[in-house]
């Protein structure tokens, strides 16, 4: 709250505009405008720079990652165990698995016994191992695990085949016995 004013305060209050000096805002604006727009441009270009650096970095990372991946795939193709390319070993086992699966299936039809030849969990593990090799490279332990997996599949199929053969023989002799008894 302003208290009562003295002569000086009253004088200034009633003549305030006369105390003002001239000022040309047009000139001031011209100077100001350049400062505002350059500052604007600066901040814009800084953002643009930051954005392009980010894009470049992510692009470089993508390319690097891709290169690494193709390297690893290539590595998988070039893998060799005991001087044999891994692809050849894999082909050999998978051919064996395929043939044995067909045999087991035929036998199961013949003997009328249903057998699950779909080795789902082993196949899934094999695929997992394969992606691990792609990601981490062909460590001997991984390759061993892969070969063991394929061998296990073959073992299972062979056991199935043996059981089916046993069963077939059993029913065969039983039939013969029956025939004899007749």
């Amino acid at each position: 709250m302003k208290k009562e004013t003295d002569k000086l305060e009253q004088f200034i209050n009633s003549n305030q505009s006369e105390f003002d000096s001239e000022f040309k805002p047009e000139n001031g604006w011209r100077k100001l405008e350049t400062k505002i727009s350059t500052k604007n441009r600066n901040s814009q270009s800084i953002w643009m720079m930051a954005a392009s650096i980010a894009i470049l970095l992510s692009l470089a990372w993508m390319l690097y990652d891709r290169a690494q991946l193709t390297d690893k795939i290539y590595e998988l193709e070039n893998l060799s165990v005991n001087n044999k390319p891994y692809t050849e070993i894999e082909n050999f086992y998978q051919q064996d698995i395929y043939e044995k699966t067909v045999l087991v299936n035929q036998m199961s039809v013949k003997t009328n016994i249903k057998i699950d030849t779909d080795l789902k969990s082993l196949n899934k593990k094999y695929a997992d191992l394969k992606t691990k090799v792609k990601e981490q490279g062909g460590h001997p332990k991984l390759i061993n695990a892969m070969i063991q997996n394929l061998q296990t599949q073959i073992n299972i199929l062979e056991q199935q085949l043996r059981i089916l053969q046993d069963l077939q023989e059993f029913t065969h002799t039983k039939n013969q016995e029956n025939e004899i008894s007749i």
Binding site: M1, K2, D6, K7, L8, E9, F11, I12, N15, Q16, E18, F19, D20, S21, E22, F23, P25, G28, W29, K31, L32, E33, K35, I36, S37, K39, N40
Partner: protein
């Protein structure tokens, strides 16, 4: 009847004009908040002269006052989003100008605030302006002649309408210091005018001889 109708129309127009002028300002500020430079130019054209004079009364020199005004408007441009319509735009801008002007004085070591003089002002120490002929040019000269501390307190109170409490906040001094600085500033203004007139009389007397 015709006259009354005319008056009625005129009254409505005036009201609309008044409402518009407030809205134009608000719209301008809102446009500025979205980075509209044209709107900011309009605000500059409206306020630059008065802000230049606020600065000039504190820093004394024209080129310095121009710099202060420019710096203050640049600050206002980048801080406009902080303006929340609590005060008038002019008052908000004025605070920026004052702070910018004080920054310049401190930077150039032109700031001299006499911290002594917290003595309370007694009633009888009211300044007697009897027989003092106040003229705009002379009062201007007297204020310009004050040390920067006195000058700032005096102009903030006399011209910018700040209360002692606000001045104390801006200058980081006590309310009493602001009051006593103001009182002493007025005393100096009076002395300056008296001396000036005395000097004039003397030179006048010399010429008469």
């Amino acid at each position: 009847m015709q006259l009354l109708q005319n008056l009625g129309v005129f009254g409505i127009d005036l009201k609309r004009l008044e409402a518009n002028s407030i809205h134009i300002h608000k719209d301008l500020i809102i446009s500025c908040k979205t980075g509209d430079q044209k709107a900011f130019k309009q605000l500059y054209m409206l306020y630059a002269k008065s802000m230049f004079n606020v600065a000039l009364r504190i820093v004394k020199y024209k080129d310095e006052a121009e710099d202060v005004t420019q710096e203050a408007f640049i600050k206002a441009y980048y801080k406009i989003n902080q303006f929340d319509f609590q005060a008038t735009f002019g008052a908000w801008l004025k605070k920026i100008v004052v702070n910018q002007a004080l920054d310049l004085l401190r930077r150039e070591s032109k700031w001299d605030m006499d911290q002594i003089g917290e003595e309370s002002i007694s009633e009888e120490s009211e300044i007697d302006w009897e027989g003092i002929d106040l003229q705009v040019d002379l009062v201007k000269k007297a204020i310009r002649n004050l040390p920067s501390g006195f000058r700032t307190v005096a102009t903030l109170y006399l011209f910018e309408g700040f209360e002692h409490k606000e001045i104390a906040e801006i200058l980081s001094i006590s309310v009493n210091t602001s009051k006593s600085q103001f009182h002493r500033a007025k005393k100096r203004i009076k002395d300056f005018i008296q001396d000036y007139e005395k000097g004039n009389r003397q030179t006048g007397a010399i010429y008469q001889q």
